[in-house]
Symmetry: none
Subunit: 478 residues, 2 copies
């Protein structure tokens, strides 16, 4: 392969400039042209020498020249990198330029901030047990695990989920109806690709989980926002205004974000509509297992005689989000269409996580963990509600639903929740504004506070931090 | 819940591949997987058209394709049926035995059959070493691993890949330009969602990797098939017929499936076109590391001074497919758009696999493994080519390219490769027909045989099995 003009493959031309000089030129050009930026890593000298089939000393010499001229720095264990002290190439991108590793750390840090919504109690997760299972699975890498996985998911996990759903959620289904997805997002992707044409009408709860809304908007669906009241989705409004829709997306157990449960009459009304119109329902049962007052409601899917419900479950809340595993229970008539879609667009989730989850379920840990978390979350919910009342007094009211993973702190109409959420976030608290979940219908002002990841002992001090950040704005409210 | 005795109803996915193509795919899969067997009846074209609410002609077109390829026969009054001349699928699999776990096992078994394309040498993978690293990572589950992962990927892995690309593929990039995807499919999904509007024109190689084609068809892109010759993609044909395209998808290292390399003049021509038109190029470098005669070509991306190339790499071939990990190197100007797309549609790959790969790379195992595999594959390639010649003699010719993971066995124009591939598959050999990769331009008949997973000691006996399955049909050919 001959060397093309300037920024080419890294091929040394024998018999031209000395080799170390060529290596030096290569990197100097990359740095001055901005292709390598301050902080970017260079290959290790040893690795590069091997690759180029030159003596290690040749690369060392080139690196020494570059270091001597201030282009690169050696950071011992961290390896060699472009000098962070160099000026940034293009002026404009200076301050806000996001290099990778800090961005990644931010992302994680953000995910772990107090009051974060939808994050299970990471501190109470049986990590040792999990790690033991993971290590055991890690030791047993089979050829089957290494090949392309079944896009529908790991068979034994599908069976374990079907068995769990019968007991835990009142859903009777065959394992072949269960397909493993990459979390709820993966499930939505699959549903959209398989069932929807652009401009198909889709009922969506208003207010709603914003990621679901985004997914359908991106797909070009015609979203029909249906208001929610104390009994959940107002099915009659949907029927009156958009009887002919292809799909409705609902959170019957604990409406997201209001937390109310869809009442039985509404459930039956919704199913009747779907049957009449041959529409489909997506039941997003993201945290149906977590119910504190009375029994958890069985899933909408358990009432689904007409086989219209696509039940979406997730391991993110009941285990942890880093798994990126969810599942769908599919109506019989959709099995082939989804099988086709999974063969093309999706090449399956990695088997390793699925094996560990299967082992966790098979040994009975899953049921025990859910039970423990229900108890823990009940206590944390109570503790956070009390702490809020203790700290804010009658300036706020606490909207405490019988289930779910967050509560809603409310006050009057002023001040707006968006500004308060911003202030709280600036103070490192991951609260969310209720109003930003609304689409067309008002749902009032409020702050959503996840309680599952707030230890009882921390509740009071965290509420004081919150008060410190936003209490001033609330003081004037009667 | 019960399934109808014959093939159950299926649902066409709207807005996906053309309807006749979906119907064709449906039955072809049913036949090749053994769900429909020789002699089984298909629904009448009229009845199926009614049931699916499509035009009768749509079903007729699909049936005509199936008949043309020998899958089905029309028997007038008796209706349409799976061709009785087809070999029975592997004995012993009663049609009704399809519960989930067997399906999963089938999937895996299918993936592990001899000659499987694109499957690295699983027998030669350093499993013990990998398992040790995996077990170590499994023991150390951190809170950060449990929370929602960074959708762009695990930072240290992005750095390790950037460092590797500099050495291995001549690509100088910062880690922030590297994003982790769920294999090449995940990368394509992301590219389509981020860069393309429906009906955008996309150059695609003809013949091409069928999954890429499917992904763009599903997205409603206007695919422009560009023929391929001994120098790779005929860029001038694309420029002449569809100068205004948004994207071109190419496999410059080893064209998929023909195996030819894109010549340097063509590379420069392609880059010049992209620069002129502000189009983007997707470089699918799925197996660029595996080159046996002469040096591996540096990536197209290494010549990309205008920053128009999205370089797509995958861990499926260099490590193993079960990881479901790939990556993209993005042009600077696309970083923000992709960051946005990743936040919505994609919630990142699980961290565990990424950590194990990072550990594998950091300890230098990756480079050593690639080097070992290059040697091993060179031997297996040679052995398979010799075995084919020994067994088939001058009835066939072997098309051996200097790189890649498969070779092509060719003969005259007759018999058609689809029928031969079907027979070989029925005998448990995962050969693929060349012609089915063609879109508009003929690329001849041939069988694609993956050599990477065929041990030298097995080459001869496997070729004999192949000869047993298809040799009779080739005998008459001069």
């Amino acid at each position: 392969m001959s060397r093309a003009s300037a920024r080419p493959a890294f091929v040394l031309a024998r018999g031209k400039a000395p080799l170390h000089r060529q290596i030096y030129d290569h990197f100097r050009t990359a740095i001055t042209s901005g292709q390598l930026r301050p902080g970017d890593r260079l290959p290790s000298a040893r690795g590069l020498a091997q690759q180029l089939a030159v003596a290690r000393g040749t690369v060392d010499a080139a690196y020494a020249m570059l270091a001597g001229e201030g282009y690169i720095v050696s950071r011992r264990a961290l390896g060699t990198a472009v000098s962070p002290a160099l000026p940034r190439p293009a002026a404009g991108r200076a301050a806000d330029e996001r290099r990778v590793p800090p961005a990644a750390r931010d992302e994680t840090r953000r995910a772990l901030r107090p009051f974060q919504l939808g994050l299970p109690a990471l501190d109470a997760f049986p990590r040792k047990l999990w790690s033991r299972l993971a290590a055991r699975q890690g030791r047993a890498l089979s050829a089957a695990d290494m090949a392309y996985p079944d896009p529908a998911g790991y068979g034994p996990l599908r069976e374990a989920i079907a068995a769990y759903l019968a007991i835990g959620r009142g859903i009777i289904c065959g394992a072949r109806q269960v397909v493993i997805t990459r979390g709820y997002q993966g499930a939505l992707d699959l549903i959209i690709r398989t069932l929807l044409r652009r401009s198909d009408r889709v009922w969506i709860e208003d207010p709603c989980y914003h990621r679901a809304r985004e997914a359908f908007e991106t797909a070009g669906s015609a979203l029909i926002p249906i208001p929610v009241d104390a009994e959940g989705l107002r099915v009659s409004v949907g029927v009156a205004h958009a009887r002919r829709a292809r799909l409705a997306v609902v959170t019957p157990s604990h409406q997201s974000p209001l937390g109310v449960a869809l009442s039985l009459p509404r459930r039956l009304e919704l199913l009747a509509w779907a049957n009449d119109m041959r529409a489909f329902l997506v039941e997003d049962d993201y945290d149906g297992e977590f119910h504190y007052a009375g029994r958890a409601l069985p899933a909408l899917k358990s009432l689904d005689r007409g086989d219209r419900v696509l039940y979406a479950g997730s391991m993110s809340k009941v285990l942890f989000p880093g798994l990126r595993l969810g599942y769908l229970v599919l109506p019989e008539e959709l099995l082939d269409a989804f099988a086709g879609a999974m063969r093309t667009g999706n090449a399956g989730a990695p088997v390793f996580e699925q094996r560990v989850v299967t082992a966790f379920m098979a040994a009975g840990h899953f049921g025990r963990h859910l039970k423990r978390m229900r108890g823990l979350y009940a206590n944390r919910r109570e503790a956070l509600a009390q702490a809020l009342t203790a700290v804010f007094g009658d300036r706020v009211s606490v909207d405490l639903q019988p289930g779910g993973m967050h509560l809603i702190m409310r006050w009057g109409r002023r001040p707006g929740d968006a500004g308060l959420a911003l202030k709280a976030r600036a103070a490192g608290l991951a609260v969310d504004a209720l109003s930003r979940h609304a689409i067309r219908h008002r749902c009032g002002e409020g702050l959503l506070l996840g309680f599952t990841n707030v230890a009882e002992a921390d509740a009071l001090s965290l509420c004081r931090r919150l008060e410190h950040a936003i209490g001033g704005d609330l003081r004037s409210t009667p």
